[in-house]
């Protein structure tokens, strides 16, 4: 689905990357621990959507180094101005939704978005 579909499904506010709403997003994953993000991205998460409640600059740097497609902040958490500046500079679209993480993931999954990997330890991680 396109980033704009995700935005509509979750009634999300687009904070940066308004011009990237046509970006195709096929995979997603949810994590608050940045080491989890890095570990999942190990096998490739190019262009994936990261669903997170982690509100640090590091989540944006992390997204940059592993080439994520966008970051979606859940539970109505709003990034700081300097986080927005950093994301703008790095060209990473940021969205925020009031839905909790569980609802966010469920709604996206229901509409066909798949996880980057299914589980660890099965050789695909």
């Amino acid at each position: 689905m396109m980033l704009r579909d995700i935005q509509k499904l979750l009634d999300a506010e687009v904070l940066t990357g308004k011009k990237s709403l046509d970006r195709e997003i096929t995979h997603a994953f949810a994590a608050d621990l940045l080491s989890d993000v890095l570990a999942i991205a190990r096998r490739g998460a190019d262009g994936a959507l990261l669903i997170t409640g982690n509100m640090t600059h590091q989540v944006i740097y992390t997204a940059d180094v592993v080439d994520l497609g966008a970051i979606l902040f859940v539970r109505g958490k709003r990034p700081t101005e300097s986080m927005l500046d950093l994301a703008e500079e790095m060209g990473i679209p940021l969205l925020m939704t009031s839905y909790i993480m569980f609802e966010t993931c469920g709604r996206l999954y229901q509409h066909g978005l798949k996880g980057c990997i299914e589980k660890v330890g099965d050789g695909t991680d």
């Binding site: 080491s35 890095l38 982690n54 640090t56 989540v59 740097y61 992390t62 592993v66």
Partner: protein, 150 residues
């Protein structure tokens, strides 16, 4: 091809300031850009970036300062990090997934889950970690490049 050979190896040095959490990750971001511009394949850039990110965070979390050296050869990339800090008393234990000495501040950032060093091990081809308690830590890792994007 000859021209490419002449340009290598090249290296770049970065200074890491311990405790500077705001910019944590910025060096990894620069390393990624350098390697992308050099035309290394995405999976190579991704692995180096992930390992560098974890290593950069370790210096910021546990050391007063550190130096990161990126060395780029046509067929392999090496990153070496030396820091002055608390060091690691038991390197083998520190390598275990889940083992962590991180404080609350580090955990609030979403780090300190005890996965960093094992993440580095998993994405690199060679890894060497040595440490002297209350002096510092030396970490280096290598990733081989099997193909290049021309």
């Amino acid at each position: 091809m000859e021209q490419i050979e002449e340009r290598y190896p090249f290296y770049k040095t970065f200074h890491i300031e311990g405790g500077n959490f705001l910019n944590a990750g910025s060096i990894s971001s620069q390393v990624k850009r350098i390697l992308k511009e050099e035309g290394f394949p995405n999976h190579v850039v991704r692995r180096i970036s992930i390992a560098t990110f974890e290593a950069e965070m370790n210096v910021i979390c546990y050391a007063r300062w550190g130096i990161l050296n990126l060395v780029v050869f046509p067929d392999f990339i090496k990153v070496a990090i030396d820091d002055e800090g608390v060091g690691i008393p038991d390197v083998e234990l520190a390598m275990k997934e889940g083992f962590s000495t991180a404080d609350e501040r580090i955990r609030e950032l979403g780090f300190g889950a005890g996965m960093g060093l094992s993440n580095i091990k998993k994405v690199t081809d060679e890894m060497l970690l040595t440490s002297v308690v209350n002096q510092g830590t030396h970490l280096e890792f290598v990733i081989h490049v099997k193909e290049r994007v021309e």
